[in-house]
């Protein structure tokens, strides 16, 4: 197992290096620079700024300097927010984005798995159609539609929940978590239903029922473990997606997470910030995919056997 882990981690390093190199080059090729503004700054100002941020060095020197600093954990100063380092901005934003992502994942798994199981128990009846059509709506409704609708209903008409913020007022975390989690809940529901249907028709389930076990026990103890495999495969990328894809929800609800910085950095040509956030999110995706693989191996005896043998 350790060898398997180590191999996967080592394989991630060239991936990340390539991500850094491509990002670094792409943002230099993009027209416009970090100091371009509508009111054109004088050449003196631009020259000074370039010098201050070491942009007057050749690009390869800049690249290796950047890598050198990166190894020491320094992402450099932000161009857009000169008083803050990229490291600081990321470390301020990440706990918030992570918390939002975690709640959204809970929403997704909670709602998704429960409704998927319910649907799978009586396929092709109303008990199946209702949650599944709801989930179809969930998949189709993007966050920027669902968010404002939830705000209108619960925030403005009913006045029960705050319409924006994150931890400033009681219950202001509810609507963003629901909004972000909804689409994933819908996917989870469909995956759970499929996985459960497959497992429920297997021999060992029939054996369990024949043994006289109550149905709930069969479902919870025997079927779920196998039925959730597709959900877990999906949970890894979903977790990474929830973290890196939260910027829409963050801007609807004014949440001071990472998502907004990620998006804005590209528009602002904030070189260090683009690199910092890209590296961060790329690492996240690598890590979550790895975690999902490990979890899957652990849950599935057949896979565990073949992986460890190799």
């Amino acid at each position: 197992m350790l060898k398997f882990l180590l191999k996967r981690i080592l394989a991630a390093i060239p991936v990340l290096l390539l991500v850094i190199l491509i990002t670094f080059l792409l943002i230099r090729i993009a027209p416009g620079g970090p100091f371009d503004r509508e009111r054109q700054a004088s050449p003196e100002v631009i020259e000074n700024l370039n010098k201050r941020y070491n942009l007057d060095d050749p690009v390869y020197v800049q690249f290796f300097n950047y890598l050198g600093n990166l190894v020491q954990g320094d992402f450099g100063p932000s161009f857009k927010y000169p008083n803050r380092s990229v490291t600081e901005i990321i470390s301020n934003g990440i706990p918030i984005t992570a918390e939002l992502g975690l709640y959204a994942l809970m929403v997704a798994i909670g709602i998704g798995v429960v409704s998927g199981v319910i649907a799978a128990l009586r396929p092709n009846t109303a008990q199946d159609y209702i949650p599944m059509s709801m989930s179809m709506i969930g998949i189709c409704l993007p966050a920027f539609v669902l968010g404002p609708i939830l705000v209108l209903i619960f925030g403005i008409y009913l006045g029960w929940l705050p319409v924006s913020g994150w931890g400033y007022q009681a219950y202001d975390k509810v609507l963003p978590s629901l909004t972000l989690g909804a689409a994933y809940a819908a996917y989870m529901a469909r995956l759970t239903r499929g996985g459960m249907l497959e497992v429920l028709s297997q021999d060992y389930i029939r054996t369990a029922i024949a043994k006289g076990l109550p149905k709930w026990k069969v479902v919870l103890h025997h079927a779920l473990r196998g039925g959730l495999a597709p959900v877990i495969t999906f949970a890894g990328p979903a977790a990474a997606g929830l973290l890196s894809g939260s910027f829409v929800v963050e801007s609807i609800f004014q949440i001071p997470g990472m998502g907004q910085f990620y998006l804005q950095a590209a528009f602002n040509r904030d070189y260090t910030m683009i690199l910092g956030t890209t590296i961060f999110f790329a690492s996240l995706i690598v890590i979550f995919n790895l975690l999902a693989d490990v979890l899957l191996v652990w849950l599935n005896p057949r896979l565990r056997h073949s992986t460890l043998k190799n």
């Binding site: 009111r39 100002v45 929403v107 925030g155 924006s164």
Partner: protein, 544 residues
């Protein structure tokens, strides 16, 4: 497995259930009790150093935190005393003597002295600080030379601290708007002693504006700066005009999304929106349902298209004029932009208290056709397909689409639309790789020269390739003119040249459209969108 899942879901269910059924107290209601004003302030401020900042969210906050030698009256925009309690102006109007208040203090208790202003103005004029607005100080004698490193000795620049409370300023020319400039953030004082505790006085990356470090001299001082969450200012107990301040706390929320901003207003999370334009699609709703909250004020700013005059067919002034005549501006502002804009026929906006340009042309399709025929394209024949360049934005797109159609109908010419992401658009403009480009200008100070000087032949903001020696000379004459009458006459001549040559095509004047809770008192609309929050108070509703 199920039990574990339940344990995860349960807290969320509980939160939702508890949250239901009770209305929570809104910020607006809380604000009346604690005298706190909640403000939506656009994007997250980049940094709050008054010498390097550029944007309006930064400016809104700095206006509450810093104070220049003068302030402006909310309603008339006339200069009123700030740190300077009075001033004398020489006969030729180029020499100013300012008398500073004895009781003006920094938020750490230090007195504000004349030397603070000398230090601060030297700081913004030092090239290494890279202040975009350093040019605002070029009206001062030798300031530009110092900035361009032509002189090294700052004592040659026309700023002197005569004693602790007396400051003299020597200008190049009589500059009627000089007192107004003193309230611009580029002229604000900063505390050298404090800045030097955190690094070099002339380093733009000096972290002195972080909330734990910053010292300012205005009515409010910073208490909290949570990036992307809120900036909170509290009353500066050392401020000289304690009796002028009514509020205890200002909370600025960075809300970039206009629709989110409107929702925050509607649900009572904010008292007002500070950035100049609210979500335009919501204006009609407020007009009908909540007109007391809707503030519409024509602004001192212009939306225009500029021509690349170095390229065919726009190297011919008649073509440029033809396109200007062929726009139906009334339809454009009433049916397309719908944000309270006003049709414009000049680069210079209207100023009811000062100079307003004459209207030299109108929307006239026949005239447009004649001009185009005269230029060699009768009924649009032989006219090349040209492009309108604009940056990604719904409004810009709608305007461009409308003009495309209007020109097709009126002149039978083909125009294509070309949108670019902001920074790409800026670089295309700078490199003149465009035919027609959308542009806009929001005044830094209330004077026509701020607009006209964009088209100086050497201006860094003139991306049209258009140059005119007579125009340059007129603007220089205006700089040294001593009376308003003489200046206004010169402005009118410059306006005339811009019409004849038409390097830019004026479309409309922006309006500032804001949402302000009717309980907010002393919030006066004006053409400069100038709001000193320290004068603001609440008229608390009777039920409170």
């Amino acid at each position: 497995m199920k039990i574990k899942l339940l344990r995860l879901i349960l807290p969320l269910v509980c939160i939702t259930a508890f949250g239901c059924g009770q209305k929570t107290e809104t910020n607006v209601e809380k604000g009346y009790k604690t005298k706190t004003l909640y403000i939506a302030n656009g994007s997250e401020p980049e940094f709050l150093d008054p010498h390097t900042s550029t944007g309006s969210p930064e400016n809104n906050i700095q206006l509450a935190m810093f104070e220049g030698l003068t302030m402006k009256d909310h309603k008339t925009l006339k200069p009123t005393p700030g740190v300077a309690k009075s001033w004398d102006i020489s006969e030729d109007r180029t020499f100013y003597t300012f008398h500073l208040r004895d009781n003006a203090k920094w938020s750490n208790g230090d007195p504000v002295t004349a030397q603070d202003f000398v230090n601060s103005w030297q700081r913004i004029l030092t090239p290494s600080i890279s202040g975009d607005y350093a040019y605002m100080l070029f009206v001062i004698k030798n300031a530009e030379k110092f900035y361009r490193s032509e002189i090294a000795d700052f004592s040659e620049v026309g700023i002197k601290a005569v004693d602790e409370h007396t400051l003299t300023v020597q200008l190049n020319n009589p500059t009627p708007y000089f007192l107004q400039l003193l309230d611009h953030h580029s002229f604000y004082p900063v505390n050298k002693k404090v800045i030097e505790q955190h690094g070099d006085f002339y380093d733009p990356l000096n972290p002195w504006t972080r909330p734990e470090n910053i010292v300012s001299n205005g009515a409010f001082k910073m208490e909290v700066w949570d990036v992307n969450r809120a900036i909170e200012l509290v009353r500066n107990e050392y401020y000289w005009g304690q009796d002028r301040i009514h509020l205890n706390r200002l909370v600025f929320y960075p809300i970039e999304d206009k629709l989110a901003e409107e929702r925050a207003f509607r649900s009572g999370q904010i008292h007002l929106t500070f950035t100049p334009q609210m979500a335009t699609e919501k204006i009609a709703v407020y007009r009908e349902k909540n007109p007391e909250a809707l503030h519409i004020q024509p602004a001192y700013s212009t939306y225009y298209y500029m021509f690349n005059t170095t390229k065919k067919p726009f190297d011919d002034a008649r073509v440029r004029q033809a396109l200007a005549y062929a726009v139906d501006r009334k339809t454009l502002v009433e049916k397309v932009t719908k944000g309270g804009e006003v049709p414009s026929y000049s680069l210079i906006p209207m100023d009811p208290e000062g100079y307003s340009p004459k209207t030299l042309f109108s929307d006239d399709i026949e005239k447009a056709k004649a001009l185009l025929a005269e230029a060699g394209y009768p009924n649009g024949e032989g006219f090349p397909t040209v492009e309108i360049l604009y940056n990604n934005d719904e409004v810009h797109k709608k305007v461009a689409l409308t003009l495309q159609q209007m020109w097709k109908n009126a002149l039978n010419i083909n125009v294509q639309l070309f949108n670019q992401e902001w920074k790409v658009y800026l670089s295309s403009r700078k490199n003149k790789t465009y035919d027609i480009a959308r542009a806009g200008w929001i005044a830094d100070y209330l004077d026509p020269s701020n607009f006209l000087e964009i088209f100086f032949s050497f201006s860094e903001n003139n991306h049209t390739g258009w140059e005119n020696a007579e125009y340059d000379q007129i603007l220089r004459d205006a700089q040294s003119a001593t009376t308003d009458a003489a200046r206004f006459e010169l402005f009118e001549r410059a306006n005339q040249i811009l019409f004849e040559e038409m390097p830019l095509l004026p479309l409309f004047y922006y309006s500032d459209v804001n949402l302000v809770n009717p309980t907010v008192k002393n919030w006066h609309d004006n053409v400069m969108h100038y709001h000193r929050v320290q004068d603001v108070d609440f008229t608390v509703p009777a039920s409170e």
